[in-house]
Amino acid sequence: MSQCDDSEKGNSLFNPTRRQALAMAVIGAAGVMLPLGRPSQAFAAAKAAAAGQVIIGLSQEPTVFNPHMPHIEVDEGIHWNIFDPLFGISPSGEFTPALAVEVPTVANGGISADGLQWKVKLREGVKWHDGTPFTAEDVKYTLELIVNPEFRSGRRAGHDLVRDITVVSPTEIHWRMEKSYAPYASILSWTFMVPKHVLSAAADVNNAPFNNAPIGTGPFKWASRVAGDHIQLKANPDYYGTLAQIDSVIFKYIPDLTVLYTQFKTGDIDVTAMQGITPDHYEEAKGLAERTVVVLPVATVESVALNLERPQFKDPAVRKALYLAIDKKTIIDELYYGLVLPTETYMPQQSAYYNPNLPKQGFNIDEANKILDQAGWKPGAGGIREKDGVRLSFTNSTTAGNQIREQAQQFMQQTWLAIGVEMKISNLPPAVMWGDYWMQSKFDSAVVGINFLTGADPDTRDYFGSTSTSAKGGAGQNTMQYSNAKVDELLAQGASLQDVAQRKAVYLQVQEIIRDDLPMLPLFQYTYLRGYKSQLKGFAGNINLRIEPWNVNTWSWA
C-alpha cells in the first residue's frame, strides 16, 4: 500500500508512521487478512509521531471546502491544510515545490522563453486521502474544471489563458498559454489540485458530496464538521511532505471577538486567527502568561478610495489636499494602537516590488488649505469650499459595523471639515456596500482594505488598469475609475515580462505615479494580531497568503 518515495525524507522518524499507515489501511479495509506483524506496537509508536490537538479560533466560519468555488479568506485556512497546489509560496515570496517536483521556470525549462509553453513534472507516489494515486489527469481535470462553464468557479482569471493541456505521462503535464502572463505562476501557487475520480463521478459538481467532505493530498484529512461550530481535521500519515506532529486540528468558529479573546485568555483555544485579537487588547494580551502575541503584516492596504468620475475628485489638488488633511499618525497610533504600518502605496512593504522612496505624507492643514486656495476652491455656504458650482461635499461609505474603521472615518470627517470639506458618512450593510454600489462605482468615496496583488505577483491591472472599470464595461476592480495611459502601458509591460529585475523597475514607477495621482489615499498596511500558546512551536505568518493556518503540519507542542 504505502510505497512512498523516501527521497525527500530520510528521517528515520518517519518509519513508524508508514507502518502505522499500513495498519490503518488494513483496519480501514475490514475483512482483508491481517498480516502477522505487530500492529499494536506500531500503533503505539505512531501515536508518538502525531498526537494531541490544536484549537484554532476563527471569527468567521469556513463553509466552502471546494477550493475552486467562490469563497472568502477564512475558507482558505481549511484549503491549505487539506489540499496542495503544484507549488506553494513561502513567506519570503519564493515558490516551493509541492505536487510538482520542481517549480517551472524559464531557467529550468519548465517555461519557454516567450512564456507560452509550460511543462510541469509531478511528484511520484502521491495519494489522495482515499488512497487513489494522484496523477497528471487530476491536474488536467482541475485546470479544466476551473474554466468549465457548468462549474460555479470562483475565479477564472489567468486559467482562461490555458490551452492544449496534454497529459504526457502520469507524472508530467504540458500546456500552452494563449499569451505570456507572468502572474500565472502566482495564481498557480494557490490553485489547489482536486481529485478527478471523485468530482467527475458526481452528478452535479456544484453540489457534489465532495464539497462538504473534501478529499485532497494535503497534510491533513477531513474528519468532521459541526456546522456553525467547528471543523476537525486529522493528520494524514501518508503525506509526502513534512508529516504533521499534531494529530487533530480544530477550527473553532467564535463569531464574537470579545468571546474569542476571552477564550484565548482562558486557554480554551490555542491559536487565534482571522480577526484575531483586537488592537485594544494588545497590551493586555502581551502580558498574558504562557501566551505569545505576534504582529503579522498582511498584504491588505487600507485606503480611502475616491470615485474619480465625481466632479469633486477630478481636480488633483483636491486629492492632494484631502490626503494632507488626514491625521494619519493619530489614526494609526491611537485608534490602531500603533500596530499597523503607515504606507504611501498599495504595495505591501514585504514585497520585493515595494517602493520605499515615495514621499511621506505629513498631516498639514495649512498646506492643504493653501493648495485648495490656489486651485480656486473658495469657501462657500457653511464654510464648505466650492468651485464652478461644485461643492467639496461628498459621502463616504464603508461596511457598517467595522468599529475601528468607523472611528477613523469620523476622525477624518473632523479634520477634513477644517479644510472646508464636508464628508457625510453613509455606511452600509456588507451586502449593500460591496454589491453594485462598490462594483459599479456608485460611491463617492469609501474606506476599504484591499489586497491589490495577485498572490505574490505585483500585477495590479485589476485595480489600476483603465480597462478594469466595471462601470465602464471593463473587467476588474478599478472601481475608482482610475485612468492613466502611462500606468496602463507600464502595467501591460510588467505583466508580460518574466525577468524579476525588469519587472521591479516597472512597478516602482507605477507606485510613484499612483502616489502622485492619488486615486486612493493610502492609510496603512494592515497587520493582524495573532496569539498562540507559547508551547506551540512553528506558528508563522505568510504575507503572500490570505490566512495563516497554512502550515499546521510544521506546528508542534513543546
Partner: protein, 316 residues
C-alpha cells in the same frame, strides 16, 4: 377534529405563502446580494460576479425563481445553502438542537418560576412580594435582552471569571457539567423576559380562578391548602396559559435569536445572522419558513392540548 385541523392548516398555508412572499421579495429586490461578499476577492470583476450569479440561477425573473422555490418546498427540497451548498433543511437541522436546548431549558425554567411567582403574587395579592414581582416583571420586560446579556458577560465572565462568555461547550470536554456552565448565562438572560411574561399572565389567570365557586367548594371540602392550590387553582389557571404558550412561541423564538447573537450560541439565531451577513438567501428563506411553521405547529399543538386538558373544549 380532522375538520378543525384542516381549517387550521388552511390558515397556516395562507400565512406561509404571505411570509415567503414578503421574505422573497425583500431579499431579492434589495440592493447588493450574495455576490458582494466575493467582490473584494483578488481578481474579481463584475463580469465574473455576473457569471456566478447566472450559474446560481439568480438572473432569472423573480417570479420564476419564487415559484420554483415554492413548489420545491413541498417535495422537501428547500434549496441549497449559497455558502456550503448543503441542503437548507439539513443546515437548519444541524443548528436546531442547540436552539432547542436553549429554548427548551429557558422555557421550562420560565414556566416553573413564572408559575410560582404568578400564583404566589395572586394568592398574596397586593403583598410586598406581589408588588415587587409586578414591578420586577415590568422592568424585566423593559430591559433590552442583548444588553442584559452584555452586562452578564461583563460581570460573570470578564470581571468575575465564573462562567464562559459564550459558546455551547468546550471542545474536548462536552460533559454534562460543561454544557450546564455554558447554559447558565444565556438561559438566565432568555428566561428573564419569559419569566416576566409568564408570571404576569399566570397572576391574572390565577386571579380569575381564585375567586371562582369551585375553589370555594374545594376549600369547603376541607382539602389541604396545597391541594386546593395545585389541583383546583393552578390546574385551571394553566388552561388559558396553554394557548398563551402557543402564542408566545414567536416571542420566545425571537428572544432566542437575540440571546444567541450575544452569547455566540451555535443555534438557528446565529445561523440566521450569519446567513444575513453572507446573503445566503436559501437559508434565510428556510429559517423564515421554518420559524413560521414552528409557530403554526406550536399554536396547533396548543389548541390540541387545550382540548386534552380542558374537557369542556371539544374541537370541532
Amino acid at each position: 377534529m380532522p375538520q378543525y385541523i384542516l381549517n387550521r392548516l388552511g390558515q397556516s398555508a395562507v400565512v406561509l405563502v404571505l411570509v415567503s412572499l414578503i421574505g422573497f421579495i425583500v431579499l431579492n429586490l434589495a440592493p447588493g446580494g450574495p455576490m458582494s461578499q466575493f467582490a473584494l476577492n483578488p481578481g474579481m470583476s463584475q463580469a465574473e460576479l455576473d457569471r456566478i450569479a447566472e450559474q446560481m440561477g439568480l438572473k432569472r425573473p423573480l417570479m420564476v425563481q419564487y415559484f420554483e422555490w415554492f413548489t420545491r418546498l413541498f417535495i422537501g427540497d428547500w434549496g441549497h445553502s449559497f455558502r456550503d451548498g448543503r441542503p437548507v433543511l439539513s443546515v437548519i437541522a444541524g443548528h436546531l438542537p442547540a436552539t432547542l436546548l436553549l429554548m427548551g431549558t429557558a422555557t421550562v425554567l420560565s414556566v416553573i418560576v413564572g408559575t410560582w411567582v404568578g400564583v404566589l403574587g395572586a394568592v398574596r395579592r397586593y403583598s410586598v412580594f406581589d408588588t415587587l414581582a409586578t414591578v420586577g416583571a415590568m422592568v424585566a420586560l423593559s430591559i433590552p435582552t442583548f444588553w442584559f446579556g452584555l452586562v452578564a458577560i461583563f460581570l460573570f465572565s470578564l470581571h468575575l471569571g465564573w462562567l464562559p462568555a459564550g459558546n455551547m461547550y468546550t471542545i474536548g470536554d462536552r460533559s454534562l457539567g460543561d454544557y450546564a456552565t455554558h447554559l447558565i448565562l444565556p438561559v438566565a438572560v432568555l428566561a428573564l423576559v419569559n419569566v416576566a411574561i409568564w408570571s404576569r399572565y399566570m397572576r391574572s389567570a390565577t386571579l380569575d380562578v381564585i375567586d371562582q365557586d369551585f375553589v370555594r367548594t374545594a376549600r369547603a371540602k376541607g382539602l389541604p391548602y396545597r391541594r386546593v392550590l395545585t389541583h383546583h387553582v393552578i390546574r385551571n389557571a394553566l388552561l388559558p396559559m396553554i394557548t398563551l404558550a402557543g402564542l408566545q412561541i414567536p416571542t420566545i423564538l425571537g428572544g432566542a435569536l437575540v440571546t444567541e447573537t450575544v452569547f455566540t450560541w451555535p443555534g438557528m439565531g446565529r445561523l440566521f445572522l450569519d446567513s444575513l451577513g453572507y446573503s445566503d438567501y436559501p437559508v434565510i428563506m428556510g429559517i423564515l419558513m421554518f420559524s413560521a411553521i414552528l409557530v403554526l405547529l406550536g399554536n396547533l399543538l396548543a389548541d390540541l392540548l387545550v382540548g386534552v386538558a380542558d374537557p369542556r373544549v371539544r374541537l370541532g
